[in-house]
Amino acid sequence: MIKKNSWVQIKKVILKPEERAHNLPEATKKVPLLMWVKGYLLEDANIKDIVTVKTVTGRFESGELIEVNPAYLHTYGKFIPEIQLVDKMVKSALFGDDYNG
């Protein structure tokens, strides 16, 4: 159970495929337009329940509860060895072969 007033994220379909604009590419036309919003939960609920939240600007939005205390988990990604090769290339071009080791 997720308690009332918890900080949560909800997801909602705002346009079904048949309600979408007409001039869309095929891949976009066949899927709904989705929305994600964060806010404070108005009532106790469980994940996947349809709930209402109050956002930081004081608006209300309803949708499927998908996460509590949604975190920022984006990163610098996996290491890309090519970037180090760029370093070698530009440094050795300017400062000599010592940088090409």
Binding site: L24, T28, Y72, H74, Y76, K78, I80, L85, V86
Partner: protein, 472 residues
């Protein structure tokens, strides 16, 4: 109220009018003409007042830095005596981390002055954080509407980071999946809240950048005793180039070449759910640059103040691999770690510098902040996860959505010229689809819009059987 897609879109004009506090109709006349300069004096701000406001709110007076090692690298592959000095205006040091703070500063100032309780902007770019930051300073509520995820809920790392930044400044972020109907939700939010539309394309969104053009001229004089020969602007919606060029023109009589630069994303459809996460740049690319230069009024206000074709002297593209390469070079040769999208113009400048002599000056007029998600490492990792092939070779072999090609030698970094004459003709073709008749005023307007002359416009009009009314 009927909130179906079609019904909301049909209320577009009245929602817009209310949310920007500008009566656009007063600037319209004849068949196509509108008074651009009068619109740009909306709010009666002088450039001095703009700079004062920006100074008071953490914006502007960013340092101009010479990139001596990058210029030295360009000289390694230039003809003898060639390879201009390269300077960057370090706009990442504005509050919120990009030049967009300049645009947001005037919009939020105006919103506060007009008595709005909050501001809304539709943007997946740095502008979101800029509006959120400026709104925070003015005690305005703020909603940022982003196109962020594909239909599987996979987010572009750069846009996810920008959402975090907006929330860090206290904004509400409404995130959507791929599609132009973002505009529908944007209109609904404007109607629901009565907030100010802090569009990138209002006069405020453009006049805020004029200070950047003016600072470039002043800084360059102080640093070098001379004026720049060329200024390179990353080009997407056109505002950056428009505002910078206007500021330059207001500050010097010298003709300085204004170059637009966009990342080449040819072949990727901007509204395609499959293509969305195959691009490694979410702004500064041809997917915005070309449609907006041909049809500036496709923006989220009735008349866009961003009209790049009026000011652009040359338009080049660079490839994703070249921009990532130069971003890394900026980091390890100059000790300046910045976000890749803002370095689009630096990649172009690296090539263009080789056309100019050693004592000439190129200014790259922006940088942007970098961090998790919007670092070239993050973008390249995401690209590899999405099956994009990353290798060293000739960047001109790069296929957007399939490959990212780092130059295997620095002489392969090539800014490719787009044909501006054909772009001007396409702009006119779009205008001619709206009318069968032109007045003399319209002719002058179109000549100004395309930075050409009446003969050029008249010749094009003939091809479309457009009648020109007799002079009165």
């Amino acid at each position: 109220m009927d909130n179906s897609y079609l019904s909301v879109m049909s209320r577009k004009n009245q929602i817009m009018q209310k949310s920007v506090g500008i009566n656009y109709d007063q600037y319209e006349s004849d068949y196509l003409n509108f008074d651009y300069e009068a619109m740009l004096s909306e709010g009666n701000f002088t450039i001095e007042e703009i700079r004062k406001i920006q100074n008071d709110f953490g914006v502007g007076n960013t340092p101009l830095k010479e990139c001596k090692n990058i210029a030295a690298l360009a000289r390694k592959v230039s003809k003898p005596g060639y390879g201009a000095r390269i300077f960057i205006k370090d706009e990442a040091l504005n509050d919120s981390g990009s030049f967009k703070a300049r645009r947001a500063s005037i919009s939020c100032y105006q919103a506060k002055k007009l008595g709005f309780k909050g501001v809304i902007a539709a943007t997946s770019g740095n502008y979101g954080a800029a509006v959120a930051s400026q709104a925070a300073k003015h005690g305005l509520k703020c909603i940022i509407v982003q196109e962020c995820y594909d239909s599987f809920g996979i987010g572009q790392p750069e846009i996810i980071e920008k959402a975090r930044a907006c929330e860090a400044y206290g904004a509400e972020v409404v995130q959507l999946s791929v599609g132009p109907e973002l505009f529908y939700k944007f209109l609904l939010l404007l109607e629901e809240t009565g907030y100010f539309n802090a569009s990138l394309y209002t006069p405020y969104g453009i006049m805020g950048i004029e200070s950047l053009g003016q600072e470039i001229i002043e800084d360059c004089k102080i640093k070098t005793g001379k004026l720049p020969d060329m200024v390179v602007c990353t080009n997407a919606g056109g505002g950056n180039l428009t505002g910078t060029a206007r500021g330059i023109i207001k500050s010097t009589d010298k003709k300085i070449e204004i170059v637009g630069s966009s990342v080449n994303l040819y072949g990727l459809h901007m509204a395609d759910d499959n293509d969305f996460n195959k691009k490694s740049f979410t702004t500064g690319h041809t997917g915005f640059g070309l449609p907006f230069i041909i049809n500036p009024d496709r923006s989220d206000v009735p008349r866009s103040a961003a009209r790049a074709l009026r000011y652009i002297d040359r338009y080049v593209t660079v490839n994703q691999g070249e921009v990532f390469f130069i971003t890394e070079a900026l980091s390890v040769l100059e000790g300046i770690e910045r976000g890749p999208a803002g370095n689009t113009s630096l990649a172009a400048a690296f090539c263009l510098a080789q056309e100019l002599k050693e004592d000439q000056i190129i200014i790259v007029q922006e940088t942007e902040y970098t961090s998790a998600g919007k670092h070239h490492q993050a973008q390249l990792s995401f690209a590899r996860e999405n099956g994009i092939c990353i290798y060293f070779g000739d960047p001109s072999d790069e296929i957007p959505g399939k490959s990212i090609v780092f130059p295997k030698s620095v002489d392969l970094i090539k800014a490719k010229d787009l044909d501006l004459v054909s772009i001007r003709k396409k702009y006119l073709q779009n205008q001619f689809s709206k009318t069968k008749v032109l007045s003399n005023k319209d002719l002058i307007f179109l000549a100004e819009e395309t930075n050409t002359d009446i003969n050029f416009v008249t010749e094009e009009a003939k091809k479309y059987d457009i009648k020109v009314e007799d002079a009165k």
